[in-house]
C-alpha cells in the first residue's frame, strides 16, 4: 500500500473539475446502497483491455481508474483515498461498474460482525499493537 502524497499539499483552491462532473452530475449511486467499507473487487474477466466496446463508451476514465484499482479486493473508503476522489463520487462510479457486471460489491454484515471468532481475533491483534 503506497502512501498518498500528504494531505497538506492539496491545492487550497479546490479541484479544477467539480467533483460530480465525473459522474455526469449524479449525486446518488444507482442500485443498492454501497457502504463505505463495502469490499469491491473486479470480476475476474473484467480487465480494462477486455472491455466490450459498448461498455467502454459508457464508462469514463474515472470508471476505468476504479476498475484498475480494484483488481484485488479493496474497501470503498480506501479506493476514495487511493484515487483522491470524494467518497460519494467513488460510490457512484462503483455502482456504475456493478451495473455493467464488472465488479462485485460485498456489503458489511448489517448488525456489525456477528462472528465471535473474528472479533476475538481483532481484540487479540489490537492488544499486540
Amino acid at each position: 500500500m503506497t502512501p498518498r502524497r500528504d494531505g497538506g499539499s492539496r491545492d487550497s483552491r479546490g479541484p479544477v473539475v467539480r467533483p460530480y462532473a465525473v459522474t455526469s452530475g449524479r449525486t446518488r449511486p444507482s442500485g443498492a446502497a454501497i457502504d463505505m467499507v463495502a469490499v469491491v473487487s473486479a470480476i475476474r474477466s473484467a480487465s480494462v483491455a477486455g472491455l466490450e466496446l459498448e461498455q467502454e463508451h459508457s464508462l469514463g476514465p474515472e470508471h476505468l481508474r476504479v476498475l484498475q484499482s480494484c483488481r484485488g479486493p479493496v474497501a470503498v473508503a480506501d479506493l476514495a483515498v487511493d484515487l483522491d476522489l470524494p467518497l460519494g463520487v467513488v460510490r457512484i462510479l462503483v455502482a456504475d461498474l456493478r451495473e455493467h457486471g464488472l465488479v462485485n460489491v460485498r456489503q458489511p454484515t448489517p448488525s456489525g460482525l456477528a462472528d465471535i471468532g473474528t472479533l476475538k481475533e481483532v481484540a487479540d491483534a489490537l492488544r499486540r499493537l
Binding site: V37, P73, P86, P108, L113, I116, A123, L126, L129
Partner: protein
C-alpha cells in the same frame, strides 16, 4: 440483488473482512487525536449534497436548491492481517452532518463515544444515538491535563449510562491508551454477542 457473496473473489481463502468502528463525541474532544494515535490515517473526504435552507423564497422551477459541501473525515486504518482490516471513522460532530450518521453506523461493529469532563453534555447526543440504535459502544473519557478528575461513578451517573456500558479513561495522545479503548469496545461487543446481555440486570 445484483451482488452478494459470490465466487467473484476466488483468489483468497477468506474474503477480506472490513470492520468499521465509529469514533464519536463533541467537537475538540480528541477524535482526530485518537484516530492518529492508533491507526494509519488516510485523507478521506466526501462531498455531500446539502439542501439549502429554504430562506431562498423564489420559486425556481426546475432549479434544485442544492449544493455540495466537502466534509473531511477522520479516517484511519489498522491492518490486522492481509484480509482483516479495522477502519476507524470519526463522525462529524456538527449538527448539520447528522444525516451522515445512519450511513456511517450501518454495519459498524460499534462506537467509541469520547467525552471531556469539562463539556460532558457534548457527548450526550452520541450516547443517545447509539443507545437508540442498540449498537455496542464504550465511553472513553479523554483525560485532558487541565481537566478535573471525577470518580467513575459520578461520571457514569452524569451520563446516565446503563450498567453494561463500559466507561474507560484514556489519554488519546497515547497509542497504548487509545488502543486499550478499542480493545474495550471489541471485548464489549464480544460480550454482547456471547449473550452477555443477560448479565446486565444482575448488576
Amino acid at each position: 440483488m445484483p451482488y452478494g457473496d459470490s465466487e467473484a473473489v476466488p483468489d483468497r481463502i477468506r474474503p477480506p473482512v472490513a470492520i468499521k468502528i465509529l469514533i464519536a463525541g463533541g467537537f475538540g474532544v480528541g477524535k482526530t487525536t485518537l484516530v492518529s494515535a492508533v491507526s494509519e490515517v488516510r485523507p478521506l473526504r466526501t462531498e455531500e449534497t446539502m439542501s439549502e435552507p429554504s430562506a431562498l423564497v423564489d420559486q425556481l422551477d426546475g432549479v434544485e436548491l442544492k449544493s455540495t459541501t466537502t466534509v473531511a473525515m477522520d479516517f484511519g486504518r489498522i491492518a490486522i492481517s492481509e484480509d482483516l482490516v479495522v477502519y476507524l471513522f470519526g463522525t462529524p460532530g456538527q449538527k448539520r452532518f447528522w444525516f451522515m450518521w445512519d450511513e456511517l453506523a450501518y454495519g459498524a461493529l460499534g462506537a467509541v463515544v469520547m467525552a471531556d469532563t469539562r463539556r460532558l453534555a457534548d457527548c450526550f447526543p452520541s450516547v443517545d444515538y447509539f443507545e437508540r440504535r442498540g449498537m455496542p459502544f464504550v465511553v472513553a473519557v479523554n483525560c485532558f491535563d487541565d481537566a478535573r478528575r471525577y470518580p467513575r461513578d459520578t461520571m457514569r451517573a452524569a451520563l446516565n449510562l446503563t450498567p453494561d456500558v463500559p466507561l474507560v479513561l484514556c489519554d488519546a495522545r497515547q497509542r497504548g491508551s487509545s488502543r486499550d479503548v478499542l480493545v474495550a469496545l471489541v471485548e464489549h461487543a464480544v460480550t454482547r454477542l456471547d449473550g452477555g446481555r443477560h448479565a446486565t440486570s444482575a448488576i
